[in-house]
Amino acid sequence: MSERARFDERHLLAIEGLRKDSILAVLDAAEPFFDVSRRSVRKVPTLRGKTVINLFYEASTRTRTSFELAGKRLSADVVNISVSTSSAVKGETLLDTVKNLEAMQPDVLVVRHAASGAAAFIAARTRAAVVNAGDGTHEHPTQALLDAFTIRRAKGRIEGLEVAICGDVLHSRVARSNVALLTTLGAKVRFAGPRTLLPPGLEALGAKVYDRLEPALEGADVVMMLRVQRERLGGSFLPSTREYGRIFGLNEARLALAKPDAIVMHPGPMNRGVEIDPAVADGPRSVILDQVEAGVAVRMAVLWLLAAEPSERVPSA
C-alpha cells in the first residue's frame, strides 16, 4: 500500500463513530503482527517500557488471554486485574479504582465491564488510552475488528459482501460493533433471530431484519452466529434450547442456503447443538479458530497504535 490509512484516535471505545480510515489502519497494521505470532520467537520490542493494565469486571478467558498475549508479544508490561462483581459491590467505585490505577501511570487501560458506557466513562476521567474490551450490551470493538480481519483474509474484501448475523442480537455487543464496522466498510448486514431477541431500531443501524434464519442466509457470503446466553433460556425470552436449536440453529441444511463459498463465524464461546451444529462449527467453512488467532494480531495493532511512541509508528515486524 502506497498510502497508509491514518489512525489518530486517543481511545478505542466503539466502532460507531470511527472513521473508515481508522478501521483500515488497524486492519492493515494487524497484518505484520499476524506473522509475528507465527514465528518461532513471537515477540517484538515495540512497546518496551509501556504498561498495559487489563481491568476485567467480567469473567473472560478468551478476550483477556488475547489482550495479555498481545501486550506481551509487543514487550509491554502487562498486568491483569479481575474484579469480581461481589468485591465491586462492597468495595470502591469504578471512578476510584480508575483513579488509583491512573496514579500508577499506565499507558493503556483495557476495560471489560458489565455496564454499557463504562469504557467511555473511564476514558473521560483518565490520561491513559482506554480500549473497550466489551461494555455491557453496547460494543466490543476489537471483536468486530478481528472479525473484519478474518473476513478480509478469507474473502479478500469486505465491501459488497452480504453478512448474516444471527441469534441473540438484543444482548449482543458483538452484533452492535459488527454492524457499525461492516456497514462503514460497505458490506450489507442482515440480522436474524427470534423476535424476543431483536431490539427495536435495527434498521436504523443500516441492516435488514428477519425473524427467521432462512431468508437471512439466502445468498450470504458470511454467516455469523451469536452466542445464546444460558440465562436467556427457559425464561420469557426463549422457551427452550431444544426449540431454539431446531428453529434458529445453524445446521448444514440451512447453511446450504448461503453462497457455496460462505464462511461461518462465531465469537465464542459456542453452545454446540444450540445456535450452531457441531458439524458446521468444525466443518470446512468454519473460520472460528481463525478468528481467535486474528484476535491477538488485531489487539497488538490496537495497542501499538494507541501506545507506541510516534517514532515507533511503523510496524517493526
Partner: protein
C-alpha cells in the same frame, strides 16, 4: 396572620409597590399593564394608577419598577422530592424550599419517598413542622398509597389527610396490583384525596435505563418501552371510571398515554395529569454519550412524544406542569449509567425552560400560567395563587427578556444534577411572594 400579635418593627415597612407591570392571571381574565400594591401580605390594590403618588412616596414603600416585567400568580408544584427526612445530603426542606422560591413557587407538594417513607401521620406532621420553621413557600406533603410504598397494605389515609397531606402517591413505585389500586382509589375517594400514580408496569421495565427505541439499541442500554406506561394508565382509567374516584397521572411521558387521557376526559372520567419541563424539552438523544444527568424515570422519549405532550398541555388534556425535582449528589450520578439514580432537579428551571415554548408558539402564555397555578392547585385542593384584589400576595415577578447562563454555583438546590448547566436561557424569576411574604428577591439593592 394573628391579629393579636404585636406589630414587629419591620411591619411598618411592609408595603411593596410594583409599578407598570404586565400582570397576567388567566383565572380572572387579567392581562394588563397595571400597578400592584401589597400591604401587610395582601394584594390590596391591582389596577391602572393603583400606585398613587402618595403611595410611591410613602417612607415604608419598597417600589419595584415593573417595566418590562411580568407579574404572575406564584406557582404550585405538584411533584417535588425534597429528600427530608433521610437523604439530607441531596436536599433538605430548607434548601428545597429556597430553590422553590427562586423558581417562582409559593406551594410545593412533596413526594413521600423519603427515608422513612411518609406513610404515617407522624412523618407528615414532622415535615410540616420543619417547613414552618424554615419559612418560605408552603410545603404540602403527599402521603404514600401503601405502607413503605410496597404496593400491598393501604396507608391510614384519613390520618394523613387530617395531618395535612393533600394527595396520596407511591411515586417512584407504581401500584401495579389491580386489586390494591382498586381499593386505593375507593378508600382515597372517601377522603377526597387524589391518587397520583407513577405509571410504570415494573415487569416491563426490569433493568431499564432509557426509552426503548433505536437509540437504546445503539447504546446497548435496556429499554423502558412506552407501553409500560400506557398499560397502567389504561387500566387505571378503567378503574377510576368504574369507581368514580379522582385519579392523577404523574409525569406523563408517552404519546400513548396522551391518547388515553384525551379519550377518558372526553368520556368524563375524573382524571388529571401533569408533565415535566424536561419531558417537554428533551428527547432520548440527550442520553447519547451516556450522560447520567439525562437519566430520568420515566425516561426522555422521542420527538413524536414531545410533540404530543406539548399539544396535550396546550389543549388542556394535560392539566399541569410539575417539576419532578429529583436531587441527586455526585454519588448517584458520577458513575456508570446503569448505576446512576434517575432524576434531575427542576424547581429553579421552569421559567427559563418553558418560556422558550411560549416564544416558539408551542404554548400560549395564558395556558402556561394556568398549568403552573390554578390547574395544579385545583388537583390537590389548594386555594390557587391569584392576582385578584384582596388576595394573599402570592406573586412571582418574571423578567421574560433576561438572558443568562445556568450555573451550578447559582442554583440554591443542594444538588446540581441537571443537563442544562452551561445552557444560555432567556427568562428569569426576579421576585417571589408566598403566603404574603417575599421569599425570593433577586433585585437586592437595585430594586
Amino acid at each position: 396572620m394573628s391579629s393579636t400579635r404585636s406589630p414587629s418593627p419591620r411591619a411598618a415597612s411592609r408595603l411593596l409597590v410594583v409599578t407598570d407591570v404586565r400582570a397576567i392571571d388567566p383565572a380572572i381574565g387579567l392581562d394588563a399593564l397595571i400597578d400592584l400594591v401589597i400591604e401587610d401580605g395582601l394584594l390590596t390594590r391591582a389596577g391602572v394608577g393603583a400606585a398613587t403618588a402618595e403611595i410611591r412616596a410613602s417612607e415604608r414603600a419598597q417600589v419595584v419598577s415593573g417595566s418590562g416585567l411580568w407579574a404572575l400568580p406564584a406557582f404550585v408544584d405538584l411533584h417535588a422530592h425534597l429528600r427530608e427526612p433521610g437523604q439530607e445530603y441531596k436536599e433538605d426542606i430548607a434548601s428545597g424550599l429556597a430553590a422553590a422560591a427562586a423558581g417562582g413557587f409559593a406551594h410545593v407538594c412533596v413526594m413521600p419517598n423519603t427515608r422513612p417513607v411518609n406513610d404515617t401521620r407522624s412523618i407528615t406532621v414532622a415535615m410540616l413542622a420543619r417547613a414552618r420553621e424554615v419559612g418560605g413557600p408552603a410545603l404540602h406533603p403527599i402521603g404514600a398509597i401503601t405502607m413503605g410504598q410496597k404496593g400491598a397494605e393501604l396507608t391510614e389515609m384519613g390520618d394523613l389527610k387530617d395531618a395535612g397531606a393533600v394527595a396520596v402517591s407511591d411515586d417512584g413505585r407504581c401500584v401495579t396490583n389491580s386489586a390494591v389500586m382498586r381499593r386505593a382509589l375507593e378508600y382515597a375517594s372517601n377522603f377526597d384525596l387524589p391518587v397520583i400514580q407513577h405509571a410504570e408496569d415494573h415487569a416491563l421495565t426490569e433493568g431499564a435505563q432509557m426509552h426503548e427505541g433505536a437509540l437504546s439499541t445503539r447504546l446497548g442500554l435496556r429499554g423502558w418501552p412506552r407501553v409500560a406506561e400506557d398499560v397502567i394508565v389504561a387500566r387505571d382509567l378503567l378503574l377510576a371510571e368504574a369507581i368514580g374516584a379522582r385519579y392523577h397521572v404523574a409525569h406523563v411521558s408517552s404519546l400513548g398515554s396522551v391518547r388515553l387521557l384525551r379519550e377518558a376526559k372526553a368520556r368524563g372520567v375524573k382524571v388529571s395529569a401533569e408533565v415535566t419541563p424536561h419531558h417537554l424539552t428533551l428527547t432520548d438523544a440527550s442520553v447519547l454519550g451516556y450522560d447520567t444527568a439525562c437519566k430520568v424515570n420515566p425516561p426522555l422519549r422521542e420527538q413524536a412524544d414531545v410533540d404530543a405532550l406539548r399539544a396535550a398541555l396546550a389543549d388542556g388534556t394535560i392539566d399541569a406542569i410539575a417539576t419532578d425535582h429529583a436531587p441527586h449528589s455526585s454519588l448517584e450520578k458520577d458513575c456508570e449509567f446503569a448505576e446512576a439514580s434517575p432524576g434531575m432537579i427542576g424547581l429553579e428551571l421552569v421559567v427559563p425552560l418553558l418560556l422558550g415554548l411560549v416564544r416558539e408558539g408551542a404554548l400560549p402564555l395564558a395556558r402556561l400560567v394556568d398549568a403552573l397555578t390554578r390547574a395544579p392547585a385545583r388537583i390537590v385542593g389548594l386555594a390557587a395563587p391569584t392576582l385578584r384584589e384582596g388576595a394573599t400576595a402570592e406573586i412571582c415577578l418574571v423578567d421574560p427578556a433576561r438572558t443568562y447562563t445556568i450555573e451550578a454555583a447559582r442554583l440554591r438546590s443542594k444538588s446540581k444534577n441537571t443537563p442544562f448547566l452551561g445552557r444560555t436561557v432567556t427568562g428569569a424569576v426576579r421576585m417571589t411572594l408566598a403566603g404574603g411574604r417575599v421569599v425570593f428577591d433577586a433585585f437586592g439593592g437595585e430594586g
